[in-house]
């Protein structure tokens, strides 16, 4: 197995433009384990592609250091190895296939650049092996223009794996595919990475891809790492409001308001909405003496009840039937509140219960309050 550990130390990148200096990455620290499927997730413009380009050796860092295993491959002082010396490969969102070469020519291209170019026979065998793995071995003499989107993407992946690189970088490789194909390719990619065991760094803005593919996810915003963790960790305990909103679909419901104590119970007054916090939460929250908080609840953690103690009541505005479940929308001054429930709701209002174990509380800076 050919797996490499990547260590990123205080990595920074800024561009100088006429309008001044733009800091795209601000002091990133990360360790990516050998053979890991690591996902960089964030909205467009958050710096994830720049980080990938720095890892690839297509850009030079403005600060910090980058190690592949123990070897320093780039720093801001002058040490810089190009993409090939780092032995990485890359899959691009746009496929970036060479249109004038056949599929075979495309996949073989990295082999022709090796210091010792393999004999045509070896080369052919390697191309065939990669193509068979990706089920495109019947397309070897076609030109990219004659292929469908999914096939082109497979060729691009074939080109990336043909020379067994130390690290494979993927820049939103699935976002040009249609939804059905994307799901297929996603599963295929995961399987392929497992078989090859190569350290893979995958950039995406699609939280579903991140959740399903990654061993670990790093969420970025404005050039800063927000949280690094397994999909489950990030889903269950988002470190701040940004992460909480970014992960999960539909997004987490957020309500901001003042805390009031009435008759021994703690209430959150979010504009017109009055929410009674569960007793367990209230007990832990009281000693912290907070005035204003944001309460986050995932749509599936709002339970519709017909009897028992309710925590809040909501009017029903829109009901969407999405097949296995219903999404109920209630419009509120602070945005919409979504409830996910398996049963069709009755009536035009909902009684909801909260579960203390699945509440997310954030302070007025947006950081998570750990209870």
């Amino acid at each position: 197995m050919n797996a490499t550990k990547i260590t990123i130390k205080s990595l920074a990148k800024s561009f100088v433009t006429f309008r001044g200096k733009v800091d795209v990455l601000k002091s990133i620290d990360l360790e990516i384990e050998p053979g890991e499927f690591f996902v960089l997730l964030g909205p467009s413009g958050c710096g994830k592609s720049t980080l990938l380009n720095l890892l690839a050796g297509l850009e030079k860092p403005s600060g910090g250091e980058l190690y592949f295993d123990q070897e320093l491959v780039a720093d801001s002082v002058g040490k810089f190895s190009g993409p090939f010396e780092r032995d990485i490969s890359m899959v691009f969102q746009s496929y970036a296939l060479y249109p004038h070469m056949t599929v075979e020519g495309n996949i073989a291209f990295p082999l022709t650049n090796l210091p010792q170019v393999p004999s045509p026979k070896v080369m052919q065998a390697k191309v065939k092996e990669a193509a068979t793995l990706l089920q495109i071995d019947h397309l070897l003499d076609r030109k990219p223009a004659e292929l469908s989107g999914g096939q082109r993407q497979r060729v691009a992946i074939g080109r990336a794996i043909v020379r067994n690189p130390k690290v494979c970088l993927m820049d939103e490789p699935l976002s040009n595919l249609d939804a059905k194909l994307r799901n297929e390719m996603r599963a295929h990619l995961k399987d392929l990475q497992k078989k090859l065991g190569v350290t893979t760094i995958y950039v995406t803005h699609d939280q579903l891809e991140a959740m399903t593919l990654g061993h670990r996810i790093a969420i970025m915003n404005n050039g800063v790492l927000q949280q690094v963790g397994t999909p489950v960790e990030i889903y269950r305990a988002p470190i701040n409001q940004f992460v909480a909103r970014f992960i999960g679909s539909p997004t987490m419901n957020m309500l901001t308001g003042d805390l009031n104590e009435e008759n021994g119970s703690l209430y959150l007054q979010a504009d017109t909405l009055k929410i009674k916090l569960p007793t367990e939460t209230a007990c832990k929250l009281k000693p912290k003496n907070l005035k204003k908080i944001t309460l986050g609840v995932r749509p599936e953690r709002l339970y519709v009840i017909t009897e028992g103690e309710q925590n809040l009541a909501l009017p029903v505005n829109v009901i969407e039937n999405v097949g296995p479940e219903f999404l109920i929308y209630s419009f509120h001054k602070q945005g919409q509140i979504v409830v996910r429930t398996p049963d069709e709701p009755v009536g035009d209002s909902l009684c909801l219960a909260l579960d203390a174990g699945h509440l997310h509380l954030f302070d007025d800076q947006g950081a998570r309050i750990n209870l």
Binding site: A56, G57, L58, G82, P83, F84, I88, S89, M90, F92, Q93, S94, Y95, A96, L97, Y98, P99, H100, F109, P110, N113, L114, K143, P144, A145, E146, L147, G149, R152, R159, N176
Partner: protein, 276 residues
């Protein structure tokens, strides 16, 4: 067909016919006169057709037609090759690499080409006289390179910028050197642009008159446009037949080149590089 469609087809046909006559008319007339034994046949009505004008142009040593032709071919070919080489590499740098002044350089080069030829030809003459280059091929090749490089650079730049940057990145990641990226990936894809700029440069040099007449003296360096303009009959009359025959032969290389390169100057080569 509706009335509107009929009118439209008629207009398209008429305009097409007019344009065809406008462009091909002089050419046909040229061929016609070159085949006639006398140029005033429309007045006198007496005419015999033969290839004698062509035979004369090609065989009479005093006319130096073949010298002019070879000068023209040499000068135009060498200029086209050098200009294509430099302009395509410059276009790659300007369209691909980040360096200070990357947006200013092409504009400066374009600004250079805005000087009228006539405004610099006097200085050129003095400079080449001092350098002892007057009446040599070099006296034309050097100014032609400077004169045509801006247009070639801009044509190539427009083609290069259409090639997605991801292809360069992919090739670099795949281990190709910058030079290899250039000749294995970018050049083959920009071939239509490179060919059209080369062809344009060739034609411009082949047709150029002002520099050619000012910087050359005799048939050892004079090009076809100058040579043909200086054709003289035995008794000072204008030898229309010879002139037209020479012009007709002069257009042959251009027609052949255009026919050859036309195959390459086709769009659609880019299909499938990136998602369209």
């Amino acid at each position: 067909m509706t009335r509107e469609e009929i009118i439209r087809s008629c207009l398209i046909f008429a305009t097409g016919l007019f344009l065809l006559a406008f462009t091909l008319g002089p050419f046909i007339w040229m061929i016609w006169i070159s085949l006639a034994d006398r140029a005033d046949f429309l007045v006198t009505g007496q005419v015999e057709y033969s290839l004698s004008n062509y035979r004369q142009v090609l065989t009479a040593h005093s006319l130096h037609f073949l010298d002019y032709l070879s000068n023209s071919l040499w000068i135009s070919t060498i200029t086209a090759i050098i200009v294509t080489l430099f302009s395509s590499m410059a276009a790659y740098a300007v369209s691909r690499m980040r360096f200070p002044g990357r947006s200013v350089v092409p504009l400066l080069i374009l600004a250079m080409s805005m000087f009228p030829q006539i405004s610099i030809v006097g200085y050129l003459f003095e400079m080449f006289s001092k350098a002892g280059l007057i009446n040599s091929h070099m006296a034309l090749i050097l100014p032609y390179i400077a004169w045509t490089i801006p247009i070639a650079l801009w044509i190539n730049m427009s083609y290069f910028t259409q090639i997605p940057l991801d292809l360069d990145k992919a090739a670099l990641v795949d281990g190709a050197s910058r030079m290899k990226v250039l000749y294995k990936i970018i050049f083959p894809l920009a071939l239509p642009g490179i060919f059209s700029s080369a062809l344009l440069v060739f034609i411009a040099c082949f047709n150029e008159f002002l520099f050619a007449i000012m910087l050359t003296i005799d048939y050892t360096a004079q090009t076809l446009p100058v040579g043909i303009a200086l054709f003289q009959g035995l008794h000072g009359e204008i030898p229309w037949g010879n002139l037209m025959a020479a012009s007709a032969i002069a257009s042959v290389p251009l027609v052949i080149l255009t026919l050859i390169f036309q195959r390459y100057i086709v769009a659609g080569l880019m299909g499938g590089a990136v998602k369209g």
